[in-house]
């Protein structure tokens, strides 16, 4: 339902997004029926396609040509998909968006090759654009995203990490790819550098806000809404902002510390979820997310008033209030 609402916000882009959806299907077409099935399985599990949306919207600030824009929008979504299929191996996740993951449906090796295949398709596709700057930005982003994930593994189960560690991690894990989506959309549509910089920063701030909300929803949503058990991030040892805020209460700290040292039963997991949900950690995390949201909106103030600007603004508001 919420996903439908989000899609309504950018319904003006529907014909272009339908085209991108078809291109995505074609892009994952493979001689290997196994890779074909695994990639389509992933693609058909859906998703918000937020990265292509930001590429297209950013492109509206320049000379918008869908045939050029899709050359960036499609590979960025493919890069995101490739990282998801590998993340499910890292997190040992059997369910994503309510459906079995590639690693659960087949095995870890198939997930590895599917991710490698999709990533290579993305690079094959985007290298039709002969822009060194674009490739510098994208390759740097890919490396930073990996570094973010490596740090995330290093920081797992460390309850005593600080806010800076968390922010640095989500910047790399989520915000950078959204930021690059906006920047590359601006770049290929030929906007001036100032516009591209505002769009890049908009993407960064909205990405930070988006990830913080995601981390809040891990505690405030139901298993059904999430399509996976609530509190999954915590169970996997990921210390997110609601936890960092809630741990200031000594009793909560002690519960969290103990919970991180053992495998939790379902009852214990639900107790952790309930404790965080009822703690001030949720409202404090929301306040941080809102600060990023406000900064994102400020970036849009620098850009010309246009339907694209309006849609970006609406998406930003929606992200702040989303419930899935």
């Amino acid at each position: 339902m919420e996903k439908v609402k989000l899609k309504l916000l950018y319904s003006d882009l529907k014909p272009e997004l339908d085209m991108i959806e078809k291109e995505l299907e074609q892009a994952v077409d493979s001689k290997s029926h196994l890779l074909n099935d695994a990639s389509l399985h992933l693609l058909q599990a859906g998703g918000k396609r937020i990265r292509p949306v930001f590429v297209l919207l950013a492109g509206k600030f320049g000379n918008y040509n869908i045939d050029v824009m899709k050359q960036v929008a499609v590979p960025l979504e493919l890069i995101h998909m490739a990282s998801l299929v590998h993340d499910d191996v890292i997190d040992d996740s059997d369910i994503r968006r309510g459906k079995p993951t590639v690693k659960a449906e087949w095995n870890n090796s198939v997930a590895m090759y599917t991710g490698d295949f999709i990533l290579a398709r993305a690079l094959e596709y985007i290298t039709d654009i002969d822009s060194p700057k674009l490739h510098h930005i994208l390759s740097k982003t890919m490396i930073e995203v990996c570094r973010g994930e490596i740090i995330q593994i290093e920081d797992k189960y460390k309850l005593d990490q600080n806010l800076r560690d968390y922010l640095r991690r989500i910047k790399r894990k989520t915000a950078l790819l959204i930021s690059s989506s906006c920047e590359l959309g601006a770049l290929v549509s030929g906007t001036d550098e100032k516009t591209a910089a505002h769009l890049r920063r908009f993407g960064y701030f909205i990405g930070m806000s988006f990830q913080i909300i995601d981390d809040i929803l891990d505690f405030t949503s139901t298993d059904e809404e999430l399509g996976k058990p609530a509190g999954s991030d915590f169970i996997q040892g990921n210390i997110t902002l609601p936890v960092l805020c809630a741990r200031r209460d000594p009793e909560v700290y002690s519960l969290l510390k103990n919970s991180l040292q053992k495998e939790l039963t379902d009852k214990e997991r639900l107790l952790v979820v309930k404790t965080i949900r009822n703690s001030p950690g949720i409202s404090e995390a929301k306040a941080v997310s809102e600060r990023y949201l406000k900064k994102a909106l400020q970036e849009l103030d620098y850009l010309p008033k246009s339907p694209a600007n309006k849609t970006m603004r609406k998406i930003a508001f929606f992200i702040g209030k989303r419930k899935f």
Binding site: S32, L34, H86, V89, S109, V110, G115, D116, L123, R147
Partner: protein, 259 residues
């Protein structure tokens, strides 16, 4: 170029590749990038054979080696594991990180076409690797074709891109030879690999697989000896290839004699 200089050039390239992909956490918790000296030798073969060799070509050769390391890292992730360890998690990320590095290195040298060619090769290699899991029983010839693509596609792409195609047939024979020597060792140590699993499935018994491998090694070595003589390599380079890269033991005859 003598043996010592060849070794020294390979080592220098090996160190460059390791430096390019250096990452503290990955270094501490994974086995590190697999940079095989035989592969480096073949990437450098046009240089050893005194072809025109530039900084750009050498930089590209390094990126090919990094792609091999990226794909190899993902081969190390266990098919099915009850619990995924930190080492395995970081091995997944190591492969992705190395992929990012090769892309960045080529992007920094504005070699966009090479990024595209390598991406096309990775697609082919991944498709062939996925064939190990599609449940089909394949003929030994088909299995040999899979091995061929997996072992040599990236190298062949590099050769084609820089006009060194003439080395492709020899490298293809020798890299397959090296692969099968390793598979034979795994088999004799009772270890299982994806290639052995597929061969055992087709040939129906490990002893048959062993025989097939031994005969294949003999055939490949005969081809290597014939092919190598069709090149104008100098004596030392030829000797390096025959004695350092693919030394042969004539194992099939030995097996027949021993019974």
């Amino acid at each position: 170029m003598n043996e010592q200089l060849i070794h020294s050039k390979i080592t220098s390239m090996e160190l460059d590749v390791l430096k390019a992909v250096k990452q503290r956490t990955l270094e501490n918790f994974t086995e590190g990038p697999s940079v095989e000296r035989a592969r480096l030798f073949f990437l450098l073969l046009p240089f050893f054979d005194e072809n025109h060799w530039s900084g750009e070509i050498e930089a590209s050769a390094k990126t090919v080696s990094i792609v091999y390391a990226a794909l190899h890292a993902h081969d190390q992730v266990k098919e099915n594991a009850l619990v995924i360890t930190k080492k395995q998690q970081l091995t997944v990320l190591a492969g992705d990180f190395y992929s990012g590095i090769y892309y960045q290195m080529l992007a920094n040298s504005n070699n966009i076409t090479m990024i595209q060619r390598l991406a096309t090769s990775i697609i082919k290699v991944s498709e062939n690797k996925a064939s190990f899991y599609d449940g089909l029983v394949r003929s030994v010839e088909e299995i040999d074709d899979l091995v061929h693509v997996i072992e040599t596609e990236l190298l062949t792409t590099f050769y084609k891109f820089y006009g060194f195609e003439k080395y492709a047939s020899l490298a293809t024979l020798m890299l397959r030879y090296i692969r099968y020597v390793e598979e034979l060792e795994f088999l004799q140590n009772n270890s299982q690999t994806r290639i052995l699993r597929l061969l055992n499935q087709t040939l129906q018994h490990p002893l048959q697989t062993e025989r097939w491998l031994l005969e294949k090694l003999d055939l490949l070595h005969e081809d290597i000896s014939l092919t190598i003589n069709s090149y104008n390599f100098n004596y030392e380079l030829k000797s390096f290839m025959l004695h350092q890269i693919t030394p042969h033991q004539h194992r099939a005859e030995q097996l027949t004699r021993e019974g």
